[in-house]
Symmetry: C2
Subunit: 226 residues, 2 copies
């Protein structure tokens, strides 16, 4: 398999009106029938491993592509391409700590004409800045991992309040950490009563089917409402 | 014990010349004999737990204070005060993803006249933005935790290149994660050949004495070169 991945050097948006840009991008994607998923998390929460699992379960029913945002390296895009075989683009943010709608649009231009059902944007590993910029995604999701602690919704309120789905990853190591799953779910609901919460282990595969089911439904709804 | 902590609402710096501001703050701290340590890490890497351990081992020989930067909550400042008894100030960044020198100075003003030997600034949990702004600290350190993965120096180059000490925390859970300690150390050295690397478990206490020794020496050097 050819493991070379394309790298797109992203330039900082010159549009002050990010929200307008984001809405336009959403509209354009809806017309094309492309669902754009914005995936956020801390460094090391398991974004790439979770994506690999989810993509391998969904790739026969949906045409999927991945955009990996990273400050500098290409390790994630290469990993996704190696482990799933789907189209994978690396977006270099040039030191930027987040993506905005214009930067996302630059990335999507690299997938033009490919008729993708589901584009997954793996945002920069950061619980602060990515939450502040609408990327134009159809839905926002985030992964909180058990080793990070159950208090994170208290400390990063905006991130939890804007996510439609909160995945709690690495539940296979629950016995080794002081992580209160029930309390964490309460904190998430405090920030966002409508959030769906799915505990998983991307390592063992536990719970991944539920994430796939959620995503499958979201893509169906999005395409249906075209 | 009184567990109320002071909260200072930090305003965004109006100084464009952050570097100049940072140098001035360092000079002022040197004159006062105050060592300012800037501690950075991802959310959940164990900053507060590590601090608690280190402070309890050093508080009889050094007068210590802590400034906890957080977007919104007070949980860390309260935890530090409860578990160590040292002066602990909460800095609210108002959504900002990092601290700069002016913001740090606003925090230090809350400790004026207290003759502190060592002020520890726990920066916002974020591997990107805090690395870009000189806080005026005497030294920068960061904590990478085992569950985050050994590839992080590849993905967050600036953070690793500006830190004098890299603590690798949560080594008690090494058996449950695919974390290559030797490879991680190589990656850190690639970013910063002069970095000191100390593996610890803030939970069991393993390695914490080495961090204390490093810190004790740094404070001594700083005060000696006044």
């Amino acid at each position: 398999m050819d493991n070379e991945v394309r790298v797109i050097e992203i330039k900082k948006s010159v549009f002050a009106a990010n929200e307008k840009e984001a809405d336009e991008l959403r509209d354009a994607n809806k017309k094309k029938g492309t669902f754009l998923l914005n995936l956020m998390a801390s460094p090391g929460a398991g974004k790439t491993t979770t994506l690999t699992q989810v993509i391998n379960k969904l790739k026969n029913e949906l045409k999927i592509a991945v955009m990996e945002a990273d400050i500098d390296s290409d390790v994630d895009a290469i990993k996704i391409k190696e482990k799933t075989g789907v189209e994978s683009i690396q977006l270099h943010t040039g030191g930027m700590c987040h993506l905005d709608a214009e930067m996302t649009k630059q990335g999507l231009a690299g997938l033009e004409g490919k008729d993708i059902d589901l584009v997954i944007l793996e945002n920069v590993g950061n619980l602060v800045c990515p939450a502040e910029f609408d990327t134009g995604a159809s839905k926002n999701i985030m992964i909180l991992s058990v080793p990070e602690g159950h208090d994170k919704p208290l400390k990063y309120p905006l991130m939890f309040s804007i996510c439609d789905l909160v995945i709690i990853n690495k539940i296979d190591v629950l016995p080794y950490f002081d992580f209160d799953l029930k309390l964490c779910e309460e904190y998430v609901k405090m920030r966002n009563p409508n959030a769906t919460i799915i505990p998983i282990s991307a390592k063992t595969g536990e719970g991944v089917d539920k994430v796939c089911e959620w995503l499958r439904n979201q893509v169906k709804l999005w395409k249906g409402s075209k």
